[in-house]
């Protein structure tokens, strides 16, 4: 993929364990997965079955994403791994070390420096660029599964583009809460054809999927499915004409970097109910702080109550 020579990139070649094949998986498996990926790219949003392998970590920890990453990564690539937006959580650190260990690739926390970004539950705030690949870890790939337990039936529904049932879910949201309360894993139509589950990213990130210059790949290890959104592909979130799709908004900005345009996590800071909102994307936040941006002092803040929409959405 593309060469990266950035100072923030750590190239820990010494860690590499040469007892494994490059990137852990054997070459035949990687070929098989690449074939599935090619098919997925050719049919945007369509779930392609693949022979998911046992990985040295349990299902639910990103085995699908890891297999996709292992199949596409090359020695020249630079890998970034995030978990809920953060580079420094256990899952992110483990997966980053896994590839450093088995493939000897360079790793980074800088979004712009990465050629491959494996993510759990977020899309980085920094806009992606052509040539980058975003690999999502997907727990349940089938968006219709919540109402239709039969795989044979959901496949037929995809084949015949029978997606009315998905609106039933949005209907129920509105009739129960007065607005579409689905906040994560918000269903989308890819390229005007396939209904897709964007893995549990917040709907805040849905607009970023649309027409993105990066290639987006989705891997579900337990469910043995791969799907993709090729660069510059239309991704449309479902909605009603009188209840259009909306992303979450906060009254506050990030307490650390002052960003008003990023996805915020709520952090409880004491036993008295004190809390603050900070960027979920740790790299984005750090970069802004390095550039001198600061959040307001929490003591100066008005009562940090998110707007009512948010209460329902994060519930």
């Amino acid at each position: 993929m593309q060469d990266q020579t950035n100072t923030s990139t750590s190239h820990s070649i010494d860690e590499t364990d040469h007892g494994y094949n490059f990137a852990y998986l054997d070459e035949q498996t990687k070929r098989m997965i690449r074939r599935s990926i090619l098919k997925a790219v050719a049919i945007p949003g369509y779930q392609v079955p693949f022979g998911s392998r046992e990985m040295p970590l349990p299902y639910g920890w990103g085995t699908g994403g890891i297999q996709v990453t292992a199949s596409i990564i090359g020695p020249e690539d630079t890998l970034k791994v995030i978990d809920q937006g953060a580079d420094d959580t256990t899952n992110a650190v483990s997966i980053r070390r896994f590839f450093a260990h088995t493939a000897g690739v360079a790793t980074t926390e800088t979004t712009g420096d990465a050629t491959v970004i494996q993510t759990r539950h977020r899309i980085p705030e920094t806009p992606l660029t052509p040539g980058q690949i975003l690999v999502y870890q997907v727990p349940i790939p089938e968006p219709l599964r919540w109402l239709e337990p039969r795989e044979s039936e959901t496949r037929k529904m995809h084949a015949l583009k029978e997606y009315g049932i998905m609106y039933v879910r949005l209907y129920e949201d509105i009739s129960r809460f007065g607005h579409i309360s689905t906040a994560y894993d918000y269903p989308v139509i890819v390229n005007g054809r396939y209904l897709m589950r964007p893995s549990p990213i917040p709907k805040f990130d849905n607009p970023k999927m649309d027409n993105n210059p990066a290639l987006q790949l989705f891997g579900a290890g337990r469910e043995k499915r791969i799907y993709a959104v090729p660069p510059y592909t239309e991704v449309k979130s479902l909605d009603f004409r009188d209840y259009p799709f909306q992303i979450q908004k906060w009254e506050d900005s990030c307490a650390l970097c002052g960003a008003a345009d990023s996805f915020l996590d709520e952090i409880i800071i004491d036993d008295q109910g004190g809390r603050m909102f900070v960027c979920s994307d740790s790299h984005y936040c750090g970069e802004r702080q390095d550039a001198g941006h600061r959040g307001r002092d929490p003591s100066e803040m008005p009562d940090a109550t998110p707007n009512p929409t948010d209460i329902a959405e994060t519930a």
Partner: protein, 261 residues
Amino acid sequence: MMQETEIPLLRVSRLTHYYDYIVGCRNVSFDLYPGEVLGIVGESGSGKSTLLNCISARMEPTGGSVEYDTRAEGMRDLFGLTEAERRMLMRTDWGFVHQNPRDGLRMSVSAGANIGERLMAVGARVYEDIRESSADWLSRVEFDTERMDHLPSTFSGGMQQRVQIARNLVTGPRLIFMDEPTGGLDVSVQARLLDLLRELVDDLGLSAILVTHDLAVARLLSHRLMVMRGGEVVETGLTDQVLDDPQHPYSQLLVSSVLQA
């Protein structure tokens, strides 16, 4: 009389279905005209459910044909349609009222959404309109719209059946299949529901095929009766004629074995 110029809505010809070598139904032919309600009666195992499943395209028969007067292209063989066309037909121009509402409803979504689903499936994308239609149909089946956001599992059997009926009618179908629609209900609820069905079928000019073993239900709802036995039709005619002056030995037996039809 005008029957020569009329086109049937549904034409069943020599319909036969075998389960391996066991007869489900054999050589059944009839025409159903717009506005007509056909009752199919017979005891358990007589083949009436097999017949219903075949003509409602839920099962492909081993022989014979079922043609339907589609809105777009006139008479078409059901099993010559693509699966997409057939499924579209089933959820727009047709309805199917199951004996057990659980088979016809999504128990995990509200009554309103159950009805709205058929509209959303054909492209309705304005929430308020969908909700209004749902409420309208719920009130037409005499269902308290206050409860439209509740789950069907919190309703009585009679109420569930009303929701199922509303769900079927919301797309303005022309043909309704009913499989013992009042079968699981107690007598007083059954009477009210029958009355409602009778009214709706009359008002909307629906065609219907009703499978029942209850001759009183058949008399109240259907214009015409078909008596089945061993997979074959043994007698057919005007409902009150078949019930009051049955010709076939089996029909006579059937009519004489109930208390009062």
